[in-house]
């Protein structure tokens, strides 16, 4: 197990628990997708894994080591964060942000070298946005920003990637572009934990799904066994159908999709 979470809880001081007694583990090459309605503690859980939130109880181990005993620098070499693409206060160029991914490998008093520049450039090449390196982050599209943040995480050379809704507010083209990259990284040995509001994405890019409800993990397993009509309808308190359809030319012939149903009260 590369990452194991053992019975962790977290709360802000003098506040009720936001997550309570969560345990799970992921292996090398796993893509774990966290599903759950807004406010169930998905992001809180990610923040615990990243060391931003200090857990109250339990233990998080990476490669056997307890993360509470690591410095921010040590942890950053093992886990990289891909936040939701927000704006930056200053007009940074894409390259300037990507090279920040090298920080955990630099001494506290040093700055990036030509070698770090090289690593940052190849990270940009990997996500296919080399041409944007001198563009201003504030002037590129949402999809491109997400790719920049993924590049930064790749420049960090950590084997675990934590992605907070990487496909939020992206169009179909960009969603699949991101999911393809997720899939490809996993096949190269990266371990990825991501949150999403699209259960479909779990079928497309993940081999594990965890359903979060009110601060706990209600179920965890493969997408096929976890994502069902009942579990989704219950989770989002609206009728959802999981349907399979045959698509010719696809690798796994059968494709599963989740469809929310609008049932009008009168029609019932």
């Amino acid at each position: 197990m590369i990452l194991s979470v053992e019975d962790i809880s977290f709360a802000y001081p003098r506040r009720p628990d936001l997550i309570n007694g969560i345990s799970f583990s992921v292996d090398k090459g796993d893509v774990l997708c966290l599903l759950g309605p807004n406010g169930t503690g998905k992001t809180t859980l990610l923040r615990c894994l990243l060391g931003i939130n200090k857990i109250k109880r339990g233990r998080i181990r990476i490669g056997g080591r307890d993360i509470s005993e690591m410095s921010a620098r040590e942890l950053a070499r093992l886990v990289a964060y891909v936040p939701q693409a927000a704006s930056v206060a200053f007009p940074y160029q894409v390259m300037e942000l990507v090279i920040m991914g090298r920080s955990p490998h630099l001494g506290v008093m040093s700055t990036p070298t030509e070698k770090d520049m090289e690593i940052a450039r190849s990270a940009l090449a990997r996500t296919g946005i080399s041409h944007l390196q001198y563009s201003l982050f504030s002037e590129i599209s949402g999809g491109e920003r997400q790719l920049v943040l993924i590049s930064r995480a790749l420049a960090q050379q950590s084997n675990i990637l934590i992605m907070d809704e990487p496909t939020a507010s992206l169009d179909y083209g960009n969603q699949t572009r991101i999911l393809k990259i997720v899939h490809e990284l996993a096949s190269k040995g990266y371990t990825i934990i991501m949150t999403t509001h699209f259960p479909n994405h779990a079928f497309l890019a993940c081999n594990k799904v965890a359903i979060m409800k009110k601060g706990i993990i209600a179920a965890i397993g493969s997408p096929e066994e976890i994502i069902t009509d009942d579990s989704l309808s219950d989770l989002y308190t609206t009728d959802i159908k999981v349907v399979s359809t045959k698509v010719r030319g696809m690798l796994s012939e059968e494709v599963k999709v989740c469809v929310p149903l609008m049932t009008l009260e009168a029609a019932r």
Binding site: P13, G51, A76, P91, M95, E96, S138
Partner: protein, 344 residues
């Protein structure tokens, strides 16, 4: 499109700035009512380093070494300190509208200096009081943020609010002191001090401010990359391996020490710490590793130029703080019109 990271054009820019600063530095010795020729200035300055036969008059030496030298160095130090602490705070608070005074350093210094004046302390005593109260004010703001900051999510906002509250408190206490001050001699002295200026600066004042400013500059320079990463947000900085709490404290200590030292010899000089980092950012981009040295050089050169105007434009000295505000405010509007992008 222009590259911010690693570029020979950037090092050219820094070289040009340094050359400009050197020219302003030497020209400043020539300005003033008592005329000293350039060769004499250089000889007198050199004579302090290597022994030279005296070819100049004692008057020249007094003007160059006792009057102009401390003033020029003080302008360099104060301008550099205000600009680089402004740049550091803008990166730390992720806000381009923050000035070095944000945590109450100026308000504290103002109160300390005025307190020294109504107690009829000697000049050095006034300076030390200004310096100490400047530090005290920032420490109080920091304490407020630590006690009421709560979770790390909003601690920076609480720190800024703490700074506002403590500033207001020290402003109020300053008003009390002004109210109590003798309106014939002390009150005008306080008013002049608050307008800012370098007319009273001596070599010993320069020495007093030199070490806190230079050491803090070095401190900030050493952690320049960490501060750069901090400017994209604390939480992302944590995930990039930055020891956020430690870096934040180092930035606040360095910026406070240098601003306090600057203000205690110059009085309140506004706008430099806000304006110069903006100009520097337009020139070399927002990366703090470059922004810091460029702000330092530009701030030094800018304040020295303005001080030259302050002491030479009219027969009577113009308070420096008035000039920086008179130039700064319209210039800032001009900058706003030039910045078409990138603040959001």
């Amino acid at each position: 499109m222009q590259e911010h990271v690693h570029n020979s054009r950037l090092s050219h820019k820094i070289l040009l700035l340094l050359m400009a600063l050197t020219i302003i530095f030497f020209t400043s010795f020539l300005l003033g009512r008592y005329q000293v020729m350039p060769d004499m200035v250089i000889t007198i300055l050199l004579s302090k380093i290597i022994s030279l036969p005296q070819t100049w008059t004692d008057n020249m030496e007094t003007v160059v070494l006792q009057l102009r030298f401390p003033r020029i160095i003080a302008a360099l130090l104060v301008g550099g300190a205000l600009a680089s602490s402004g740049a550091a705070y803008q990166s730390l608070f992720k806000n381009p509208l923050v000035s070095p005074a944000i945590l109450g350093v100026s308000a504290g210094a103002g109160f300390g200096a005025s307190l020294g004046m109504i107690l009829y302390y000697p000049w050095w005593g006034i300076q030390i009081l200004a310096f100490l109260f400047a530090l005290l004010a920032v420490a109080a703001s920091f304490l407020v943020s630590q006690i009421f900051g709560g979770s790390s999510r909003n601690s920076m906002t609480v720190l800024i609010l703490g700074g506002m509250v403590i500033s207001a408190l020290f402003q109020a206490m300053l008003s009390c002191v002004k109210y109590l001050a003798d309106p014939l001699d002390t009150l005008p002295a306080i008013t002049f001090w608050l307008m800012g200026g370098l007319s009273k600066v001596t070599n010993s004042d320069v020495l007093f401010a030199f070490f806190p400013i230079i050491l803090s500059c070095i401190g900030l320079y050493l952690i320049r990359w960490q501060v750069n990463v901090l400017s994209i947000g604390e939480e992302e900085a944590i995930t990039l391996g930055v020891n956020v709490n430690l870096m934040r404290i180092i930035v606040v200590i360095c910026a406070t020490l240098m601003t306090a030292a600057a203000v205690s010899i110059s009085g309140i000089i506004g706008w430099v710490g806000l304006l110069i980092p903006h100009m520097a950012r337009m020139l070399v981009g927002p990366g703090f590793a470059l922004l810091l040295p460029v702000s330092l050089i530009m701030g030094s050169g800018y304040l020295l130029m303005v001080d030259n105007v302050a002491r030479n434009l009219t027969a009577m000295e113009i308070p420096l703080g008035i000039l920086t505000a008179l130039i700064g405010a319209p210039f800032f509007v001009f900058l706003l019109s030039k910045v078409k992008r990138g603040w959001t």
